[in-house]
């Protein structure tokens, strides 16, 4: 499984990378902002994207809108501190498939990933 991790915090990317490794997924590419992430899309062709919201240069919401307007349907899980219901609705309307509020446990993230991939495959 090819996964793209997008978060401006390297420590947060490391935490997510370890959880993904526990699921046996090691084809992981990292990006520190939305603009870097867009550059990774063509070369990496991810099957899943874990996306932070608050990032410099280009935030997660703008990246998501650009991704969807280009016709890309890769499942995206927002992984963010943005916890208001209005933010979740905004992200889903922009094309997010699922939502995970930081902080999370390894089990919570695994469950969210499995749920997302199952729904996407259906």
């Amino acid at each position: 499984m090819r996964v793209l991790l997008v978060d401006d915090s390297k420590v947060m990317r490391n935490i997510q990378r370890k959880i993904l490794a526990g699921l046996g997924w090691e084809e992981i590419t990292e990006a520190a902002d939305g603009a870097e992430a867009l550059e990774c899309i063509a070369s990496h062709a991810p099957e899943l994207i874990l996306l932070d919201w608050n990032m410099p240069v280009m935030d997660g919401l703008e990246f998501l809108k650009k991704l969807r307007s280009a016709g890309n349907k890769t499942p995206v899980i927002m992984v963010t501190t943005e916890a208001e219901k209005s933010r979740v609705i905004t992200a889903v309307q922009a094309g997010a498939n699922n939502y995970m509020i930081k902080p999370f446990t390894a089990d919570q993230l695994k469950e969210r990933i499995e749920q997302t991939l199952k729904r996407h495959a259906a």
Binding site: I15, M55, E84
Partner: protein
């Protein structure tokens, strides 16, 4: 003018967020021991993480900790000891502040946004922390040692101020 009802609402939300986020990385017993106005004699700690708020409220929050407390907080999140001179250290401390401020924001009414965090190691000033105007200091104790949260936030949306005053 200071909105004291909003300030106490903000302190309560911040305290809940501090306890929740620090507990998620294994830090227990987070207690606010005193809340007061900042005075010119107050010194900053060695590690300070800053986030600004904009929207219905505007201003900044700084979480400032002595090096020993900050080291332990970074260790708790990153799972390893990091040098305070490394980029990963400021990254980890900033992410903790980001999670705390994000959770605080979600508990407040109104539409607000937070900035990405800035972390200052060493001397900090209110100006560097973006704290302008009357600043409130919340002194805290935790299982990892003492730290403080300082904030200067003003309410911009008139409806938010009056509803804060009327809040149960």
């Amino acid at each position: 003018m200071r909105d004291h009802a909003f300030e106490s609402e903000f302190v309560a939300a911040m305290h809940e967020a501090l306890s929740f986020i620090l507990a998620s990385v294994g830090v227990q017993n987070v207690q606010a021991t005193a809340t007061r106005a900042r005075t010119s004699g107050d010194r900053w700690n060695e590690v300070t993480g800053i986030i600004t708020y904009s929207g219905d409220i505007a201003g900044a929050v700084a979480l400032t900790a002595p090096l020993a407390t900050a080291n332990a907080m970074v260790h708790a999140l990153a799972g390893e000891m990091l040098s305070h001179e490394s980029e990963d250290y400021t990254d980890a401390f900033g992410e903790l502040v980001n999670m705390i401020c994000g959770r605080t924001k979600a508990a407040l009414r109104g539409e607000n946004s937070i900035s990405v965090p800035t972390v200052v190691i060493g001397d900090c000033t209110g100006r560097a922390a973006g704290l302008e105007g009357p600043t409130t200091v919340v002194l805290c104790e935790s299982g990892l040692g003492p730290f403080a949260v300082e904030f200067a936030i003003r309410v911009r949306a008139a409806g938010l101020a009056s509803s804060a005053k009327g809040a149960a």
